[in-house]
């Protein structure tokens, strides 16, 4: 017979959180008064602490270094030397993603075991869905192994960034592998992992694009899309379980409560968009300033997204989506064929244009993905939400980031108006083509 016969059920014990000051009032009062009367030594404004730490910083010893990559079989040695810095950084970041995906595979296995062992919790993840995520994590790991190998790297190396990712992931693993944590607590930990993973792939894709590794860029794109789904799923489960714990009925996604950030008093994150919009609308009749035209496009799409969000019926949502899609296709097309080529003539704008192009590519990929969805797919709304976030991010980057202000420095009013006219006529052509 097994030695272990089970512990007494906790129901008999009193479960009290004893960490607060009110647990032992008399004792706490004494503690507080004692501390108040004490006279600490030293000067807290003294910067000795920072100076001591700075000494260690100044020794300049790193956590570790990147290995010198071997020579890939079919690459010219000179080209290799030129690309060495870029390749080293790329291998470091590839190593980081590899470590992350491999740990992610184990994380989801651990979580899967837990969910399978527990009585199925309402609103929680299905085992099949978790297995799907686990398999994709493993697939990403293997893609990275091959990618590193193809670059002449050693896929078994623990790169400095991989090491750091391991330290970051330690806490997440501790939460998920603890038999005492709830499904929701595990999801909170997994959310941290997925948020970091999404941005990790995004960054890797951008780096690959900048370094001209187009195949890798596409692989990153694909992985990013899949990781976005993981993120949305984890987010969804966490929200549903938290609301269920709070005994709140699960709201429709159009429910105002879920859109609390845009609520009521006009403090929405995008600023006082409506007012700006009105003035812009008025001016739009006369002005052909290219930047204003593009900003108007952005604003128009933003409003459509809000309409879609507010729509009660699925049918209406889908109709608005079609409009969004049309607008986005036209907008990306004219930016890519007219505006960006003009901007790329200026050295200072080149990088920003590349970034914008990358964002376009992602938006278009998402539009295609959404087209492929089944009629009643539950993925429609989450994907629409992610699309909205991406588009708004893109618009913000261009308008409020460095690009538009820089363009204004470089081009004078006449040039901007001429460019605007070109954009307008391209738009008209496209519309008439669509109609015919």
């Amino acid at each position: 017979m097994a030695a272990y016969e089970g512990e007494n059920p906790v129901a008999n014990e009193e479960l009290i959180n004893r960490t607060g000051i009110m647990t032992h009032p008399q004792s706490s009062a004494e503690l507080i008064l004692g501390a108040e009367e004490s006279v600490p030594g030293g000067d807290e404004n003294d910067d000795e602490l920072a100076m001591q730490r700075a000494e260690y910083l100044n020794e300049g010893l790193p956590i570790g270094s990147n290995p010198v990559p071997g020579k890939p079989p079919d690459v010219d040695q000179e080209e290799l030397a030129e690309a060495a810095d870029g390749t080293t950084v790329l291998l470091d970041k590839l190593g980081e993603r590899l470590a992350f995906e491999r740990q992610g595979t184990r994380l989801y296995e651990s979580f899967l075991e837990k969910c399978a062992a527990l009585v199925t919790e309402q609103d929680g993840p299905e085992v099949d869905e978790l297995r799907h995520i686990r398999d994709e994590e493993l697939e990403h790991f293997k893609i990275l192994q091959q990618a590193i190998s193809a670059l002449g790297g050693d896929a078994t190396v623990q790169t400095p960034s991989a090491d750091v990712a391991g330290v970051i992931g330690h806490g997440i693993l501790q939460v998920v592998s603890d038999p005492r944590t709830t499904t929701a607590q595990c999801l909170q930990a997994l959310l941290s992992a997925e948020l970091a993973d999404n941005d990790g792939w995004d960054l890797l894709g951008k780096l690959a694009a900048q370094l001209g590794h187009s195949e890798l860029e596409e692989q990153c794109q694909q992985a990013f899309t899949e990781e976005q789904e993981h993120l949305e799923k984890v987010r969804g489960w966490l929200l549903a379980m938290t609301l269920a714990d709070a005994q709140v009925a699960e709201p429709e996604s159009s429910d105002e409560a879920l859109n609390w950030r845009q609520d009521g008093d006009g403090n929405e994150p995008m600023g006082a968009g409506a007012e700006v919009n009105e003035t812009e609308d008025d001016e739009s009749e006369q002005s052909t300033d290219a930047l204003e035209l593009l900003a108007q496009d952005h604003q128009r799409v933003k409003e459509l997204f809000e309409q879609a969000e507010a729509a009660q019926e699925d049918k209406e949502k889908k109709r608005v989506f079609k409009e969004i899609k049309k607008e986005l296709e036209t907008h990306t097309r004219i930016e890519e064929t007219i505006f960006y080529p003009a901007m790329q003539e200026h050295e200072e704008l080149k990088d920003m244009v590349l970034e914008s192009l990358e964002e376009h590519r992602q938006v278009k990929k998402m539009l295609r993905d959404m087209d492929k969805l089944g009629k009643n797919s539950e993925m429609f709304e989450p994907k629409l939400k992610v699309l909205q976030e991406n588009v708004e991010h893109h618009a913000e980057e261009e308008e409020e980031g460095k690009m538009f202000p820089k363009v204004r420095e470089l081009l004078d009013a006449t040039e901007l108006n001429e460019l605007g006219e070109e954009l307008q006529s391209a738009k008209k052509n496209r519309r008439s083509k669509r109609k015919s």
Binding site: M1, A2, A3, Y4, Q52, E55, Y56, E59, L61, P62, I63, G64, S65, G70, A99, R102, Q103, G104, T105, R106, L107, S110, L138, F141, K142, Q145, Q146, I148, S149, D154, A155, T156, V157, Q158, P160, D163, V164, G166, V167, H170, L173, Q174, V175, S177, D178, P179
Partner: protein
């Protein structure tokens, strides 16, 4: 060896000084330093920890020595701190564990190869195969729990293979005691070897007992509980090979000589210049301790210390891969079991004997070490990895 430990004065005890900044250096690098630098740090932490442990026991039994012990012990405490604090924070508890097992394998192999006493060499090989199996079990845990490759720590110096299965290493206490060397006839190297391994294994035990509860995963907690229990058996084994007839001062002298021998060995092999200068400094500190204890020995024991410790040091411990030696032992001695102070073959062990009974009791609700490593086969980059072209090529070269 040219170092005459009776003549070398080292640094006098009252010149051995530290401050907090000196104790806490920027640590070594998990990624860039050679695995054997980590092996030496882990072992020397164990040797210093044994110094403290011994000196405390001695103080409890010898009023006259208390002040002398307290003075030396204060320095040993700070030596241990400086050495142990060389381990970096990104080295996780599980990774450090892999490091401890690498120490147990490579250092024990070197000791076993150089031990002149045939029986004791057998004792060391017996322990070696058990630690060898621990490394394999912990590697499986690391791979399957955290998704990382233990060879990032081992750097290919040490094999990741099953040894004598951990689940059969559990023995009744009467089967963990061994015969001791004779302090009057044993060669000096025999004594130094015994103290070295006892210190190393004791620290391994203490480390597992400290970090075991830090794991959230219940199977990791079980595995640490199981292997910590074997380490306790190993301490019992290595403690029992040391002659209890030695006087307290004789033992103290031997401890100091062991520390000298170990710092000296580290110094011969160290590749990291920052660490090398520490081994050199502490070798000189230990020579100073020896001079101090020699005085006491002459005063209290009234004997010639040359009868106890060697004039010149034996061949240093070899900090290198012992792959061939370990594989040979693995092939020939995995099936050995202990019965009293002797070793018998697996077939000679019958169910009614104390160790099989004890083992059955401990494994009654399953064996953690069997469970975590079921079907485990190490591959480059963990068992999840696919073989890339460069690995295939590497195998072809071999």
């Amino acid at each position: 060896m040219s170092l005459d430990i009776f003549k070398e004065q080292g640094i006098a005890l009252d010149q051995q000084q530290f401050d907090w900044r000196d104790l806490v250096r920027v640590p070594t690098s998990k990624l860039d330093d050679d695995a054997f630098t980590r092996v030496r740090i882990i072992l020397m932490n164990g040797i210093e920890s044994e110094a403290l442990r011994f000196q405390h026991s001695c103080a409890r039994m010898n009023k006259d020595l208390q002040l002398a012990l307290a003075r030396v012990r204060r320095v040993e405490q700070h030596q241990q701190t400086l050495v142990n604090w060389l381990l970096p924070a990104d080295l996780s508890p599980l990774e450090t564990t892999i490091g401890f097992e690498q120490v147990a394998i490579e250092v024990t192999a070197s000791v076993a190869e150089h031990e002149p006493d045939g029986y004791l060499a057998q004792v060391y090989r017996f322990g070696l195969l058990e630690d060898f199996d621990h490394l394999y079990r912990y590697s499986a845990l690391m791979d399957r729990l955290t998704g990382s490759d233990s060879n990032n720590i081992l750097q290919s110096y040490t094999d990741i293979l099953p040894g004598r299965p951990t689940s059969v290493e559990h023995r009744a206490p009467e089967d963990d005691l061994r015969q001791c060397y004779d302090c009057n006839t044993a060669q000096p190297i025999t004594k130094l070897n015994a103290v070295t391994l006892m210190g190393g294994e004791h620290q391994t035990h203490d480390y597992y007992m400290t970090i075991g509860p830090m794991f959230a995963d219940p199977m990791a907690r079980q595995l640490y509980a199981e292997i910590a229990s074997i380490e306790e058996q190993h301490v019992t084994q290595y403690e029992s090979i040391i002659d209890p007839e030695e006087s307290w001062l004789e033992k103290w002298l031997l401890h100091e000589a062991t520390e000298i021998y170990n710092y000296y060995s580290c110094l011969q092999y160290e590749t990291n210049p920052r660490v090398k200068s520490i081994w050199e400094r502490f070798l000189n500190y230990e020579l100073g301790h020896l001079q101090f204890v020699l005085e006491l020995f002459r005063k209290f024991d009234k004997r010639d210390p040359a009868q106890i410790i060697p004039q010149s040091l034996p061949e240093p411990i070899e900090y290198k891969s012992h792959r061939e030696f370990v594989r040979k032992v693995l092939a020939e001695e995995t099936d050995l079991r202990a019965r009293g102070t002797q070793f018998i073959s697996q077939d000679e062990e019958t169910e009614g004997m104390p160790s099989p009974q004890y083992r059955q009791r401990m494994n009654a609700s399953g064996s953690p070490s069997d469970t975590v490593a079921a079907g485990y086969k190490w591959r480059p980059g963990t068992e999840l990895a696919e073989e890339t072209a460069d690995i295939t090529e590497l195998k072809n070269v071999a």
